[in-house]
Symmetry: C2
Subunit: 495 residues, 2 copies
């Protein structure tokens, strides 16, 4: 954690900003004491920390507008924060910048069962939306592992996914309308309460923009009818290859499971030790497959999946017979990252997403790279949609390990890009993966991102330095990176 | 149709552009003869016409890059055109501008059954993708009525929908990756072959941008597994209210039909006269409902829907028993607009989309407005997703009728905005609905659109004057419009 390197700038900004903020915010909505500011110095990517200039906790749209106008007038950067569960330092403060906490925007304004929508504040927890919709037999589909704690505003910022996004899409597919405040303090509406909107798709551009384009103050989410039936199946395999083929064959049979996950042996054992969910600890890999729909449909699909699994020598096939059993299987899967955290001091989680057909090839290659770099890599991932979460276990206090973990991570993401995939499926880029953006995008593409950013925030005050690297940064990173002797932009050759 | 009002400018531009184009394009890819240019003077919104300066028909990405560089260098506007089936003059040329025809980009480069994707040129016809995917039991979901003729590039430009987008989404939900050429002639990739991509969602922003941001030269679309079973049901109602309640109750029961349509009596009769599909001509309204999935699922859902329909006194319930019968019911529905074209010389088709709960209220109000303006309005629409297509029948040679039709259309779209909806669901804005954009968006919102446009096309050379009205244009339109005494931007009050 670094304190301000420019104490004079800090004092100067505080002196001007604080009285201005007080014109429309109560004193207790502004935090300046260092000991209290520590609560805001990082998100769940705790290896990067930075104290903000101050933290504001507005509780009305007008207050957010005032904060933005103050910062715009004084040229002070602003970083928005939801619940702080992000994994890529996206809501880590910037030095001498304002941290804008949106936790007080936690109201569910409306549940509309007929339109199947809910209008909520960005500080509402993901699970709270589903809970509020339950009496209408509806739910909010995105379900990141952190869903008990994470806010929907954060889900929008990162375009969060979850174990069910194979069938039900990412956050962007489950929201209709956003009310945002621009850096100038203007209030604008993106999208509409209907299923489409005229003009450019600003709702989509805002989703996943990691707080770089505007501050979300209200969200209209889609709700889905709860499927009449949902069964979760867990199957063990003696080899990785058979598990990979099972994934391919399930998809190839035209089935669209609600979730389709894969976990390797290290992952299984770590989870089982923490959660005691009955996972088969001797298997090389397990897959988890959820089927949902009408009773008849689920029975039908279950039979198809089981016949595929048996053909591929799956053992220990467990099928949930009630909601509680399903919950238990999923709860264990969702505890994967806490479980891995017990295996090593640090865990570098990749979020590369690849075309499904490349799964087996990439998995094999990752294991080879893990040997090359002499670091354990655990694979726990959303196999159905190709969203891999290889996790590199290491000890950051060992400088050599730290360096190897970083290089290995870069090689893995490079691999994802090489097969036509992407360096981030659902966790975002933040500050943690910003160099790896240089692997994926050409300078023309990065320039287009910067131009778009400038169309919303000309002076680069919103979450500056995150998500989109400067061309200079990429030149430096690629110069370093060329040592591996690989082509930085293979995807340009694809068409 | 207007010829150039500035013959000198025309000659000047032709003299500079033509030799420059010839440096990299063959002579027969450049059309300058007026009689041949007439083929490009309008899209399917034939009441607006404009001859281009010239038409180019490139057949390679390099040629498109060259055209863009030439136009950028010489400051000449460019309008891209797919199959010309658009309904809002989106691909109508601009005066003394280039018309860029993409029809030669009609190759299907790859069908990848394992990833369920196809890589195609923008000139490929919508139906051709589904035909090419059929051997793998896959299909391309967006199915606008014009799917036999329209190009997928045009689908991307307009974010096209169709009768199945209730369950399977609009074009934006069915594409993964776009290769585009910027106005500077740079080639950039948006999205990825995986299910997500890092950075801002430029794929979504490009989809529905009506050729204002870049030229699409390659598209990777998602393919879906063909459902094992699909049944189409047609039911007649003696009152509009019962039909509306049936729609609400089907959705309220937690069903998500593949398609859910509603047609009023005038629409039914026009369709039946043209198509002889067995539609019940004495009904006040019919609804068409398609259910798809596994055999068991479809039977299950069919039973639920039929019980809802019977409770609401539906008569003449027909259920297709094979693919041919389903095709017949849909073919008739898709011929609705040609059928209506036989009823009056002109047909002003609205594309307003509203939150589903407001359907009955809006329908009633539209009928009141139709009486007030003394013009027939036919309702044929995608009821399940709230995408209304009220069609105003009139004769444009009668100046008074023309004026009334335009005002009535504006009132209808205003109504859509007032209930939280949007002025366009799937047809786009083009030039035809550009004034009505002023009903929906505040000046801050329009300014944000313009800033975004400038981030891609600073000099406003790509399809200038379409889709996003200038603030001056809106000031003029709203000044005229305030006579109705209604608030122009009610949606700002919603949160």
């Amino acid at each position: 954690m670094s304190a301000s390197k420019s104490p004079n700038l800090r004092e100067h900004r505080l002196g001007r900003l604080y009285p201005l903020l007080l014109e429309q915010l109560p004193k207790d909505a502004i935090i300046t004491a260092t000991e209290e500011l520590h609560a805001y110095e990082c998100d769940a990517f705790t290896t990067m920390r930075q104290l903000p200039l101050l933290t504001v906790l507005p509780d009305s749209i007008e207050q957010v507008q005032h904060v933005m106008r103050c910062c715009h007038t004084l040229d002070i950067p602003v970083v928005a924060r939801g619940a702080g569960t992000g994994l890529t330092a996206g809501s880590m403060p910037v030095e001498n910048g304002v941290l804008l906490g949106m936790s007080k925007f936690d109201q569910i304004h409306e549940i509309d069962p007929h339109n199947r929508t809910a209008l909520i504040g960005p500080g509402v927890r993901n699970q709270a939306v589903t809970d509020a919709a339950a009496p209408y037999n509806l739910y909010f589909a995105p379900d990141p592992s952190s869903q008990l704690a994470c806010s929907v505003g954060g889900n929008v910022a990162e375009n969060a996914g979850g174990v069910h996004c194979l069938k039900y899409g990412l956050t962007v597919h489950n929201i209709l309308e956003l009310e945002i405040i621009t850096i100038e303090g203007e209030r604008i509406t993106l999208g509409s309460a209907a299923l489409d909107a005229a003009g450019y798709d600003l709702t989509a551009i805002m989703t996943g923009s990691e707080g770089l384009l505007g501050i979300v103050v209200a969200i209209r989410v889609k709700l889905l009818p709860k499927p009449a039936s949902a069964r979760v199946l867990l199957a063990a395999f003696a080899t990785i290859e058979e598990a990979g083929t099972a994934i391919a064959d399930i998809i190839g049979a035209g089935l669209i499971p609600a979730g389709l996950e894969m976990i390797d042996q290290t992952g299984i054992r770590a989870i089982e030790e923490l959660m005691h969910a009955g996972y088969p600890v001797d298997a090389a890999a397990v897959i988890i497959c959820e089927l949902d729909g009408s009773e008849a449909e689920v029975e039908d699909e279950l039979a198809s999946v089981i016949s595929i699994l048996k053909r591929l020598n799956a053992s220990d096939i467990q099928v949930s017979t009630n909601a509680e059993e399903s919950r238990r299987i999923w709860a264990a899967r969702k505890a994967a990252f806490p479980a891995l955290a017990r295996l090593a001091p640090d865990n570098y989680i990749m979020d590369g997403t690849i075309p499904r057909r490349a799964l087996a090839e990439v998995w094999t290659r990752i294991n080879e790279l893990a040997e090359e770099y002499d670091l354990p890599v655990v694979n726990v991932f959303h196999a159905g949609d190709g969203n891999m979460h290889p996790s590199i276990l290491f000890d950051s206090s060992d400088e050599d390990q730290h360096q190897r973990a970083f290089e290995l991570g870069t090689r893995i993401l490079e691999l994802c890009v090489q097969v036509g995939g992407t360096i981030s499926g659902e966790h975002g880029i933040g500050l943690e993966k910003i160099n790896q953006m240089c692997l994926q995008f050409s300078s023309h593409e990065l320039s287009q991102f910067h131009a778009l950013k400038a169309a919303f925030d000309e002076r680069n005050l919103l979450n500056p330095g995150k998500q989109i690297p400067t061309l200079a940064r990429c030149a430096e990173f690629n110069a370093m990176h060329v040592h591996h002797g690989e082509m930085p932009f293979p995807h340009l050759e694809r068409f």
